[in-house]
Symmetry: C2
Subunit: 146 residues, 2 copies
């Protein structure tokens, strides 16, 4: 693939209220999204914007909390990391189907179908064991950004 923007870094959090307070009050974030409910995944997410030198879109922090504790894609991670922590990283590509085909050709294990979740643009995840220990999300660049 051709490396695109680091769209966001995902952090699992045991408490969204505590996490939002941390980012606002300790880290000084001034742009924090409303809560987004992902019913199908049993998750709630909040995006924190980070500034850039250009003034354009910086890499976001995605805070992720379980709505249904013990039954989500975060459960194993939170069991190992009860305080929360860095869960995945997401990079943009211009063409999601081309990127998926290339990861498949390289023998990388892709986790589930290409799907649209919180950003309104198609994504897929690649297994951390094939990605230097990093759960990696690949996202087609959101159209609004261009």
């Amino acid at each position: 693939m051709k490396l695109g923007r680091m769209n966001h870094v995902g952090y699992a959090v045991p408490s969204m209220a505590d996490a939002v307070a941390h980012w606002r009050d300790v880290m000084g974030a001034t742009s924090v999204s409303d809560e987004i409910i992902l019913e199908e995944q049993g998750l709630k997410v909040v995006f924190v914007d980070t500034p850039t030198d250009s003034g354009m879109n910086g890499t976001q922090i995605e805070l992720i909390e379980e709505l249904t504790p013990g039954q989500t894609a975060l459960t194993g991670f939170l069991a190992k990391n009860p305080l929360g922590g860095q869960h995945h990283v997401c990079f943009e590509v211009p063409d999601i189907d081309a990127a998926r085909a290339e990861f498949e050709r390289l023998g990388k294990r892709i986790l589930g179908p290409t799907r649209i979740v919180a950003h309104g643009t198609p994504i897929f995840f690649v297994h951390p064991k094939d990605m230097q220990g990093m759960l990696t999300e690949i996202m087609e660049s959101p159209k609004a950004a261009h």
Copy 2:
């Protein structure tokens, strides 16, 4: 503090050669630094640039390998994560001393003195247990970026 740029995300890697090959050949990075030797820390680092919509400086990936295995700040992390993985995240601030004083006032555990390492600008680290599970590096914005 006032949240600044996400300067970089740090990844511990068991093999720098494999990690650089991954970022070049799988992820498609085109801007990869030379190796930087940090003798005092017993570490070797390489920076991978990521693109942005603006064309200006994106959040970097910092790949970190032990020069002296078993005797560095990465040793515990690599023991728990033998494939490597996300080790820390770094945010910029305009004034490192003001930021340090504020973290101290908040009772956050700061790890060691403020010091200059790979970026040529002062940094300090804050304990993950006080930072939502994230080892957090605070860096004074490099002067060259402004």
